[in-house]
Symmetry: C2
């Protein structure tokens, strides 16, 4: 998972045109003010431990939300962050899980639709903590949980 | 080089705070309307053939500019696109070369400063050609120009 977090004055989007892999139904437009935008690109290696990747992603988002004292999150699929993308259905499922987990954790969450050409506008605050990027991969034990390797 | 090209209604930025590697002097703020934003992250492998990487980047930008019929370009350093960044001085030199080559090719070009925390606002048009990402690496011959390997 390639993750880019941007602390924004506002983020808004509008779904313009479907691609072959468009998520439907979806929320065709959305706007959040004073929000953390989580641009996400789910990657093929994530398939080896998708739940773990989702948990790590949620943790990274919540951690930054806490630091910048911002409770609102826009989960925004952004395939352009990676050149090794996961299959669309895995990606959509992961993005929905991230949205759900953030909601359960008490964040106000919106999620832009996967697989649509979308116009968007964004204003990044620009303070030293306002932008963060991270590469997240399934952690060791998540990948081979059954073949636990105990080193003495 | 990780490159993200976005066809925008407008892009504006304002330099807020220096990092240790801030470019100075610089243009502290800028705005372009109807412009192609070229988010660039110069990477460490680019050092093996930086001129070739610059040429490929300029070619990719000019090609998209032609397709979306947009002559204005904002060269915007964006380290968050990569987790394998080149040394700052190499990156700044490459970004300046890209700016210069685009200018010479007749584009109206601005360049946001390297190594500053910057606020920015952007509006992506969202038509099917409005976003493009690419990984650019030094091409074979650029890397080992003297040890030409001729295969029969
Ligand atoms: Mg809720």
């Amino acid at each position: 998972m390639r993750l880019l977090l941007i602390h924004s004055d506002f983020i808004e989007y509008e779904a313009k045109k479907k691609t072959k892999i468009a998520e439907d139904p979806c929320s065709p437009s959305g706007r959040l003010e004073e929000a953390l935008v989580a641009f996400c690109a789910v990657e093929s290696p994530d398939a080896d431990g998708i739940d773990d990747v989702v948990n790590q992603t949620v943790a990274a988002i919540s951690e930054m939300a806490g630091k910048v004292e911002c409770n609102r999150v826009m989960v925004y699929p952004y395939a352009h962050l990676s050149s090794d993308l996961a299959a669309p259905d895995l990606a959509v499922a992961a993005l929905k899980s991230i949205e759900e987990a953030l909601d359960k954790a008490g964040h106000e969450v919106k999620r832009a639709p996967f697989g649509w050409y979308k116009s968007f506008s964004l204003s990044c605050k620009g303070h030293p903590l306002s932008e963060l990027s991270r590469s997240i991969t399934p952690s060791e034990d998540a990948v081979k949980p059954e073949k636990k390797h105990i080193e003495h």
